[in-house]
Every structure is written in structure tokens, then in C-alpha cells.
């Protein structure tokens, strides 16, 4: 298939259709409205269904029902809307339902603003709703990667019977880049889900549920889903860029900030400073081992995020005191320039006067 110039949000929607998804439930919120708009036009063309829900709370519970009935289903929203969806997300994690949720992050807390942000890292990677659970979290940094990860997300969700979140930001959603879709899955070719509520003809009845009143049963359930999260560790993905043979400063960044870092790497090269980039693609599970290895060859480590410092906690936990981990963040919709990153990197390797 030829490459097509597409906006990030539209590429995400088209990727879901290529993944065999024919159901979308969502509620409008800036800056991701192009996803529901795209789906409302595209899904009827392929025999699918688009429902504009009355709220994000309702949308997340529609996902619960549809996934419980064995359908591939997805939604998208942005930070405040994702908070509202956390009810359904917790229940889906508890009932082990595969769904794909796209969060095109904007600044917070509260209504915050509508410009790009990475301030929902904690919410995405540490659970987000109530209860002891994790989402598998994927963070694209290009439109092509967003499309690829959305398709993979549906398979990962089915494999682990767990919600998967695509964590992007307003920039990834709005930018236009060439994209091609690596595969097309037809819904009828997807494997049956024997656990789904599709009518009990010829089998014992199925129940989709997250209620365990017996504490021993609930404990067993908690450890069982924990074991699943441990197993997800084999899905770790990352990109190491310009780190061969070591570097002066290793910048750890994901999504949009990783793109900016690549420009910073070029600028620094002219100054004789070698910056390397470590970009986690899976934010949960976190590519800890690869990060430690990449950091070994660096004189200094700098984490940069569009937040006051969230992923930096996972980086510091991984580095475990072996190196100083510096942090540089911009928030509120403000985005650092590549020159900022070069300046921060220079400070870290400057010889004290």
C-alpha cells in the first residue's frame, strides 16, 4: 500500500479499522476530536458502528459491554475525559477485558489547557483508576509509529485480556506525516473468544465480572492478574539512538520530546557534544534493562518530559543511584526547544571552573 499523508488522529482511527475494529464509543474533547469524527464517517463504510456516548463514563462502560461480548472495540479521549473513563478502565482490568484506549494528552490538572502535555504518565502507567492493576502503555513518537502501535495494541489487548493505552500528546495527534498500514485484519478472521458473552448455546454460560466477595478469591484474582502483568515484561520496546560507543549525555524521553531530542542531537554534534537518546516505546512494561545498559556508556543522564517529572521516577528507580539523573521539564502546553535540551546537556558535562 502506498504511503498517504495523514493527520495523527486520523491515522490512529484508520489503524483501528485495519486492526479489524468495527466499534467506537466516545465523547468529544479537544485535542482529539478528529478521531471520533473520522470514525463516525469511516465505520459505517465498513459495516461498523460509531456511537457518540453521553459522557466518557458511559463510553468506557460501553467498551466494557462490547468487549465482554467478544468485539474489538476502542475509544479515544484526552486527559480530563480519560479521568472520567477510569471507572470503566478499572472494571475492565478487573474483568480482564481487551480494549484499546487512546489518550491524546493535554495539560492539567483540572481543565488545564488544550495544548500538548505528558502529564498523565503516572495515571497511565501506575493504574489510574482504583484497585491494583496495570495497563499496557504504548507511546508513539511519529504518525507512522502511532498507526503501527494501534494495530499492535489490539493484538496485545487480546493476548493479555487487558486494556491497552496509546499515550500520545496533542502534537502526535495533530501533526501530518506520511503513513502506511502494515496489515489489514478482517473482523471475521479474528479468533473466537470462548470466554465472551455471546449466548450460551452449546456451552456453559459465561459471566463477565469483577466482583469477588470472598477475600481469598479476590486475593487469588489479584495475584493472577499480577502474574499477567509480569508476563507482559516480554513486550518491552525501546529505541536507542546515537548511543553506540557511549555518549556524553543520554537523554531519556518519549513521544514528542524524543522527536525534539533528535534535533538536539544534531545541534549538539556541531558543538562537539555527543547526545544519545533512549526512547521507551512501552511505558508499561518499562524497558528497564535496556535503559540501564544504555546509561552505562553515558557520562550523564537527563530525563526530559512535558511534565514536572513523572517518568523520571521510573528512570531513577532503574538507574538505582549508579548515576545522577537530571531532569528538565516544560508544562502547561509549553514545549522545550532543541536548544534548551542542548543547553541542559552542556551544563551536565561542563567542567567546574
Amino acid at each position: 500500500m502506498a504511503k498517504k499523508l495523514m493527520k495523527g488522529c486520523e491515522a490512529i482511527g484508520e489503524a483501528a479499522i485495519h486492526a479489524g475494529c468495527r466499534l467506537f464509543f466516545g465523547y468529544p474533547i479537544t485535542p482529539q476530536n478528529e478521531i471520533p469524527e473520522y470514525m463516525s464517517a469511516r465505520l459505517p463504510q465498513v459495516g461498523g458502528v460509531f456511537v457518540q456516548a453521553e459522557s466518557e463514563v458511559a463510553a468506557s462502560n460501553m467498551l466494557y459491554g462490547a468487549s465482554g461480548a467478544g468485539c474489538r472495540v476502542f475509544t479515544s479521549s484526552s486527559s480530563p475525559g480519560i479521568s472520567l473513563m477510569m471507572e470503566g478502565v478499572s472494571y475492565m482490568a478487573g474483568a480482564e477485558l481487551p480494549v484499546v484506549i487512546v489518550n491524546i494528552m493535554r495539560g492539567g490538572p483540572g481543565l488545564g489547557g488544550i495544548l500538548p502535555s505528558q502529564s498523565d504518565y503516572f495515571q497511565a502507567t501506575k493504574g489510574g483508576g482504583h484497585g491494583d492493576y496495570r495497563l499496557l502503555v504504548l507511546a508513539p513518537s511519529t504518525v507512522q509509529e502511532a498507526a503501527d502501535l494501534v494495530i499492535d495494541a489490539f493484538d496485545l489487548a487480546d493476548t493479555y485480556r487487558n486494556p491497552v493505552m496509546i499515550l500520545g500528546d496533542g502534537l502526535i495527534g495533530q501533526i501530518m506525516e506520511p503513513v502506511e498500514f502494515k496489515k489489514e485484519i478482517k473482523p471475521e478472521d479474528l479468533p473466537e473468544k470462548p470466554w465472551a458473552t455471546t449466548g450460551c448455546a452449546g456451552r456453559a454460560r459465561n459471566i463477565i465480572n469483577s466482583l469477588y466477595l470472598d477475600p481469598e478469591e479476590l486475593e487469588a484474582h489479584n495475584w493472577a492478574i499480577y502474574a499477567k502483568y509480569q508476563e507482559m515484561a516480554k513486550e518491552v520496546r525501546h529505541e536507542a539512538f546515537n548511543t553506540e560507543g557511549g555518549c556524553d549525555v543520554l537523554i531519556v524521553a518519549y513521544g514528542t520530546v524524543a522527536r525534539i531530542t533528535k534535533t538536539a542531537i544534531e545541534m549538539a554534534r556541531e558543538k562537539g557534544l555527543k547526545i544519545g537518546l533512549f526512547r521507551p516505546i512501552t511505558l508499561y512494561p518499562y524497558p528497564t534493562e535496556a535503559l540501564v545498559k544504555a546509561a552505562e556508556g553515558a557520562k550523564a543522564v537527563l530525563v526530559s518530559e512535558l511534565s514536572t517529572g513523572q517518568m523520571v521516577e521510573d528512570v531513577r528507580a532503574a538507574i538505582a543511584g549508579r548515576k545522577e539523573v537530571a531532569f528538565h521539564g516544560r508544562v502547561g502546553g509549553m514545549v522545550m526547544g532543541p536548544d534548551d535540551l542542548v543547553e541542559q546537556a552542556e551544563k551536565l558535562v561542563a567542567v567546574p571552573a
Binding site: V51, S55, A58, Y64, E87, T197, G199, C200
Partner: protein, 320 residues
């Protein structure tokens, strides 16, 4: 000669059958059953006419009736598990009616039910079909997800008044307004039963509940919400009816409405919601038969019975 068959270990001793029997066939036992309850026995079997009134009002499906060689049976759409409801609570009657309708329409094996949060949170253990457990108030959103993804399935929700008319009101109004082809069984007992008797959106003016200890003050809490009348105002076609299960005749009328609601779904006609006025003897602090009387005297005047909205024939044609 007709006879009453009592499955005594299912009985919780509510005595509703004894009150319902017009021929005084039944009397309470002197021994207790496995659950520790006294249970009814046929003290005057010769008087039995086979009217089934006892069966109709029994909230625990503990009674079957033999008449002219035919024996009634427990619906296939109910599991064998005994209900977890309090003695005399009419949830069990409503469960039986829904199950009978699923059996009679032959749809049990392609039905998905949705249990709510509230007294009937464990409904998924009682209906012998595929079930999903929803979070509080979201049963109709879950039903929407199932029905839109799998329109071939028969989808019903079973919800109480707090679930449907308080925390889930947005889902209720919008599911009805979208005309989701689902069937909603709405059990209104004017109180939060499971959490211990707090005020519900349907608690009557002046009715005492644990969070309105001096009675519902309409100046502070507003008036109880009449759900079917509220939904009636939506332009989208729907089948809306209010019934009760406080006596045998009302039980029969309730079943007819529930059956009609499922038929509209099967025909793809419209959204259907049946509000069932139900008792909460424990929450109300009454004997089960007193609760039925209280319902009749206090709830029915405020919540009139009958079909409140039926889909118009022209609209039916266009939608089918």
C-alpha cells in the same frame, strides 16, 4: 385433584403464599427447614383449586403446582441457586417472571443479562444465561456496548432505583433517547436496600429512610422521580410501563408487560423499560404482607400502574 408442591428448603418463611391463597390451603410448619425458617405446608389440601396464586407470589420459587396431571416447573432460565434476597422481598418474583419470559420466547441461549450494583448485584448467579456485571448505574451503557456490537443477541438490564434513577440517570435517559433495542427491568422499591435503607430518588414524600430519619423532605430532596413518566417525554419511540408484583393478579399483568418488552426488542422496534414496584420488607421495617399493603396504599397512588408509552404503529413500521 390439584396440589401444591413445596420445595421447603428454598423457603424463607415470608408467608406471602399463605396470605395469597384464597382457599386457606396452606399453614406454616412447626418444624424448620435447612435454612432455619418455618415453611408452608398444605394443611387443607382438599381445598386446593390449582389457582397458582401461591406460586405467583412466592419470591423464592419454592412452590410448584400440580393440576390435571401437569406440574409447573422452575424456569430453565433460572439457575438452581437460591436467591440471596431477604425473606419476602419481591426481587425473586421479578426474577422468575423474566426467566419465564426468556423461556417462553425461546431466547435464553442468545441472551445476555446485565446485573447492576445494589440488592440484585448477584443477579448473574441466578439467571441461567450469559451475564455481565456492570458498575453502579452503567448497566444500560454496558447493554448499549453489547447490543451495538452484537445486535443478534437479546440484551436486558436488571436495575434498582438508586442504580437506574440516581447514579445512572444519564445512562438511562440517553439509552432511551438513542432508542437502544434493549429491555430494562427497573425495580423500584423506594429505598436503597443493600446499603441499609438510605433514601432513594424514588423514596416517597415523608417516607422515613436512614438518611432522611424524619421522612423525605421534598423542600430539601425534591419529589420522588417518576421514571417512566420522565422518559415518556422523549420523542424517541419506546415501550414504557409500570407494574407491580404485590398480589397474584398484578404478577400476571407484570409478566405480560415484561413479555411485551422483550417482544419489542426481538422485533427491533424500540427501547423498552418496565418499572416494577417492589417491596423491601426489611428496609421498610414491615412484615412481607404488610409491605405489599403499604406498596398498594402508598406507592401505587404516586406511581400509577399501566402502559405509559407504546410505540406508534407508523413508527414501528419505519423502524422494523
Amino acid at each position: 385433584m390439584p396440589s401444591v408442591i413445596i420445595e421447603k428448603d428454598r423457603c424463607k418463611g415470608c408467608e406471602l403464599c399463605i396470605n395469597a391463597c384464597p382457599e386457606h390451603v396452606l399453614a406454616m410448619s412447626e418444624e424448620i427447614n435447612a435454612k432455619g425458617y418455618f415453611f408452608p405446608m398444605a394443611a387443607h389440601p382438599e381445598n386446593c383449586t390449582g389457582c397458582r396464586y401461591c406460586l405467583l407470589v412466592c419470591p423464592d420459587v419454592a412452590i410448584q403446582v400440580e393440576n390435571k396431571g401437569k406440574v409447573t416447573k422452575r424456569p430453565d432460565a433460572l439457575t438452581e441457586k437460591g436467591f440471596s434476597y431477604c425473606p419476602g422481598c419481591t426481587h425473586g418474583v421479578i426474577h422468575r417472571l423474566v426467566a419465564e419470559v426468556l423461556d417462553e420466547l425461546g431466547v435464553r441461549e442468545r441472551t445476555v443479562g446485565i446485573a447492576p450494583v445494589g440488592c440484585s448485584v448477584l443477579a448473574y448467579e441466578f439467571f441461567a444465561c450469559d451475564m455481565q456485571e456492570a458498575s453502579h448505574g452503567r448497566a444500560m451503557a454496558v447493554a448499549t456496548g453489547i447490543k451495538r456490537g452484537r445486535p443478534d443477541l437479546v440484551v436486558f438490564t436488571y436495575q434498582g432505583d438508586g442504580d437506574l434513577a440516581s447514579i445512572g440517570m444519564a445512562e438511562t435517559i440517553h439509552s432511551a433517547n438513542r432508542g437502544e433495542k434493549i429491555t430494562v427491568i427497573f425495580v423500584n422499591n423506594a429505598i436503597y436496600g443493600m446499603t441499609g435503607g438510605q433514601m432513594a430518588p424514588t423514596t416517597l414524600p415523608g417516607q422515613v429512610a436512614s438518611t432522611c430519619p424524619t421522612g423525605r423532605d421534598v423542600n430539601l430532596a425534591g419529589y420522588p422521580i417518576r421514571v417512566v413518566e420522565l422518559l415518556k417525554e422523549l420523542k424517541t419511540p419506546a415501550y414504557l410501563a409500570r407494574v407491580t408484583v404485590d398480589d397474584p393478579k398484578h404478577v400476571l399483568a407484570a409478566k405480560k408487560a415484561i413479555r411485551q418488552a422483550f417482544k419489542y426488542q426481538l422485533e427491533g422496534t424500540c427501547f423498552s423499560l418496565i418499572e416494577v414496584l417492589s417491596t423491601c420488607p426489611i428496609g421498610w421495617g414491615m412484615q412481607p404482607h404488610e409491605a405489599c399493603g403499604w406498596l398498594e396504599e402508598n406507592m401505587v397512588p404516586y406511581y400509577p400502574l399501566g402502559e405509559v408509552k407504546v410505540p406508534e404503529p407508523a413508527v414501528v413500521k419505519a423502524g422494523s
